[in-house]
């Protein structure tokens, strides 16, 4: 059924608000700390750098605190969270190196809170606000729960700290809140606009009960809530100490300078690059289970002097399904690429960087959807696709500069390979978990080197994949393998990093099996594009084998290493699917690599031979795509390769040896 507008939802359709406007609306309800320009101008370089680096280390400490207190493998082992320090109106001064998508819109949530909560119920020392409403900000889908805390110094609201992490289940029709049949948000977890869940340093039981009651794993979510409280408390202790040592005015002056420094240095870098426009597209196949549609996000990046404009005109309208994202998701798709490709030598202060960016987007499109569109998968659907298209556009910009082109990277792992398990674990307790194996995605190729194999995800610089043993200890599952997959990296003069696969069975659950939710597009077409003639990475590939011989194999002392050795009936799994796994069922999930760079026929033949030896490229791939003929000992047959490449150069362009159309 089509999305029907909901009266009153416009209050939550948040957009970035200027500091001046936020201050105007807050008025006298909360006294906001300010610092004069003279204090900023008087900062000496040494003090500036010492405090700036301290702010960076505080976000790292927040991350450590969160990990040590959380009980969720998604957080403790995979780093699917982030932390940030913001100024008094929410501008992000320092974002942590974890999942930068998550922290890209904390500013919007804090600003909204100031504008809507300052008068009632008020903002006071010891308060913390919880939010998982992506229309407001703070996260990209409902599973991204942010907790942000005002820091008061001498009675003035001096700054905010925020922690946001993926919660494994917050209700909704399907386990993991990943309702693959969803047509709108009412199938999904309830979005919660900012609520004061910690007041005067104490958790409000009534609000916490309302929050946890929706979850299938409330104790785990409660622990994560305390982990985020702990992260904020650690940050507040450190910031208090910093203000005591240097004075609040000096610390705030550094925050202002960091924002300005980030802006100034990004503008300087942009000024070195040529003006022009770059347009690209990112597709997604399937919006929900049973859907066979393909949807596009189009972006035109225009670079004029020292400003970037991202224009998403041409993007498809929002769709019935769970793949839409809000404006916060759109920003979450842009900022990680800016940080990693343009800001390696610039402070990671999104509040300053956003000043160099303009965004044009029409509400009602799949990466700027209106309430009540389905957004349960936003972070790894339309937000991720936004990252893909922005990556291509920015790469095009950088490629036109002889020095800066060294920083570009093709699209990384085209999407998140979502596999969620739920049921009863080996200890008899209920469990839900998102398998995070695809944190080991392939990184995109660069202009001078191959992409890093299973190197991670560009948007989560410190993302990790949990050890197989940790997953087996925590959940009722047993791996047959987790390994890199040949040919999954996009071919090119420089090859995209390869992705990988995992293959496992339910194991040791009192129920015998587990529930499985799959949400993994990129099966009809690859989602990690190549650049400059480089090919896209491989497609996503998921197979479920029913009633296999795996237990007989184990009993005979064999560990199957190929799907063909397992018997049973194979089901190729569509992009969105929900089912049960029996004890003899095997699930194989193969995620994507990174896109390639440059024409594959220009790749050094010896590098292709080395790839074949290392199982990065198959013999078939070497011959058919790279045009490399290998001798029986695995070395390059130079003459045969030269001849084959000449023929392939013609045939792939649809020409015969006389350069006539093959089909003419």
């Amino acid at each position: 059924m089509p999305v029907i507008p909901v009266a009153g939802s416009e209050e939550f359709a948040n957009l970035p608000t200027s500091p001046a406007e936020t201050r105007r609306i807050v008025g006298t309800a909360v006294k906001l700390h300010e610092v004069g320009q003279s204090v900023i101008d008087a900062l000496d370089p040494l003090t500036y750098e010492v405090i700036r680096h301290r702010l960076t280390s505080i976000t790292e400490e927040m991350g450590e605190a969160l990990k040590r207190m959380s009980g969720s493998v998604v957080v403790t082992d995979c780093n699917d969270f982030d932390a940030a320090i913001m100024d008094e109106v929410g501008d992000v001064v320092q974002v942590g190196l974890y999942n930068t998508e998550l922290a890209a819109s904390l500013d919007m949530a804090v600003s909204w809170t100031l504008r809507h909560r300052a008068a009632r119920p008020g903002i006071a020392p010891g308060d913390m606000f919880l939010c998982n409403d992506p229309w407001v900000g703070g996260g990209l889908h409902q599973n991204d729960v942010s907790l942000f805390a005002p820091l008061f110094i001498d009675g003035e609201l001096f700054a905010w700290t925020g922690a946001v992490a993926h919660q494994v289940d917050l209700g909704g029709v399907s386990p993991g809140s990943w309702s693959v049949a969803a047509t709108d948000v009412f199938w999904e977890s309830v979005p919660t606009p900012p609520v004061k869940i910690v007041e005067n340093g104490e958790i409000r039981d009534d609000i916490e009960d309302m929050y946890l009651r929706r979850s299938r794993v409330p104790k785990l979510v409660a622990l994560d809530l305390r982990a985020k409280i702990g992260a904020n408390n650690v940050a507040h202790e450190r910031l208090h100490a910093l203000c005591e040592k240097y004075g609040a005015a000096t610390v705030k002056a550094v925050m202002r300078r960091v924002l300005k420094d980030a802006e100034t240095r990004l503008r300087a870098k942009l000024s070195e690059l040529p003006d022009g426009s770059w347009t690209s597209v990112a597709h997604q196949d399937s919006a929900r289970s049973g859907d066979r549609g393909i949807y596009k996000i189009v972006c035109t990046l225009t670079k004029t002097r020292d400003t970037l404009t991202f224009d998403f005109t041409g993007t498809d309208p929002q769709v019935d399904g769970l793949i839409n994202c809000t404006y916060a998701g759109l920003r979450g798709g842009i900022m990680p690429v800016l940080l990693t490709t343009l800001c390696g030598d610039i402070p990671w202060a999104p509040g300053g960087l956003y000043r160099c960016v303009e965004i044009i987007s029409e509400p009602g499109t799949i990466n700027n959807c209106t309430f009540p569109s389905g957004i349960g998968k936003a972070s790894v659907a339309s937000a991720w696709a936004t990252t893909n298209v922005v990556t291509e556009c920015l790469a095009g910009l950088l490629d036109a500069h002889p020095e800066h082109r060294k920083r570009l990277m093709s699209v990384c792992c085209g999407t998140w390979d979502f596999a969620l398990l739920a049921g009863v674990d080996q200890r008899g307790g209920g469990f839900v978990t998102m398998l995070c194996d695809s944190m080991a995605g392939g990184l995109g190729a660069r202009t001078h080197s191959d992409g890093v194999d299973t190197g991670g995800l560009a948007c989560i610089p410190m993302g990790r994949v949990a050890d197989v043993e940790m997953n087996e200890f925590s959940f009722p599952m047993l791996y047959l393998w987790r390994r890199e997959e040949a040919d999954s990296g996009g071919p090119g003069r420089f090859r995209g990093g390869v992705g990988a696969s995992s293959c496992f069975i339910p194991y040791d659950s009192p129920l015998g099996g587990v529930h499985l939710v799959v949400s993994a597009p990129g099966k009809a077409l690859p989602l990690a594009g190549g650049l400059a003639g480089g090919l896209p990475a491989g497609t996503q590939h998921d197979v479920l084998l029913r009633s296999t011989s795996v237990h007989e194999d184990f009993a005979a002392g064999r560990i199957p290493a190929l799907l063909s050795e397992l018997g049973g009936e194979a089901e190729v799994i569509p992009s969105h699917h929900e089912t049960d796994l029996g004890s003899a069922d095997v699930y194989f999930t193969h995620w994507q690599g990174g896109g390639g760079y440059g024409d594959p026929l220009l790749r050094e033949p010896g590098a292709v031979a080395a790839d074949v030896i290392a199982h990065k490229v198959s013999v078939t791939g070497a011959h058919d795509v790279y045009g490399v003929v290998l001798a029986s000992d695995g070395t390059v047959d130079q003459d045969a390769t030269t001849s084959h490449r000449s023929a392939l150069r013609l045939s792939r362009a649809g020409l015969d040896s006389d350069r006539q159309e093959v089909n003419a």
């Binding site: 022009g276 196949d285 202009t447 090919l535 193969h590 024409d599 198959s618």
Partner: protein, 97 residues
């Protein structure tokens, strides 16, 4: 003064765009590959990286679209996209940038 657009293309001060490998004219600043050769084949001709037939998952036709230098046949752009959709991949550098 010329400008390298990427690994394969070079834009000149008069706005013309040539192949960096053979110097053949392939387009201009507004449309750098408008004189390039374009082919469309089945996605699985991209190689073993395409694991299954697209028709298993989608109703729209999917194609492997490649753009070549018309002279030396260097691959300039490759994409696997819906075949009923014109390519959205464009670029245009300001002449003299």
């Amino acid at each position: 003064m010329s400008l390298f657009i990427d690994d394969n293309l070079e834009q000149h001060s008069d706005g013309s765009v040539t192949c960096r490998h053979c110097s053949h004219l392939v387009g201009d600043a507004a449309a750098p590959m408008n004189a390039a050769r374009v082919t469309e084949t089945a996605p699985r001709t991209a190689g073993p990286s395409v694991r299954e037939d697209a028709a298993l998952f989608a109703d729209r036709p999917i194609v492997f679209r490649r753009t070549f230098c018309p002279e030396c046949l260097t691959l300039l752009q490759a994409e696997i996209v819906p075949g009923d959709e014109v390519s959205s991949r464009h670029r245009s550098l300001i002449v003299g940038a």
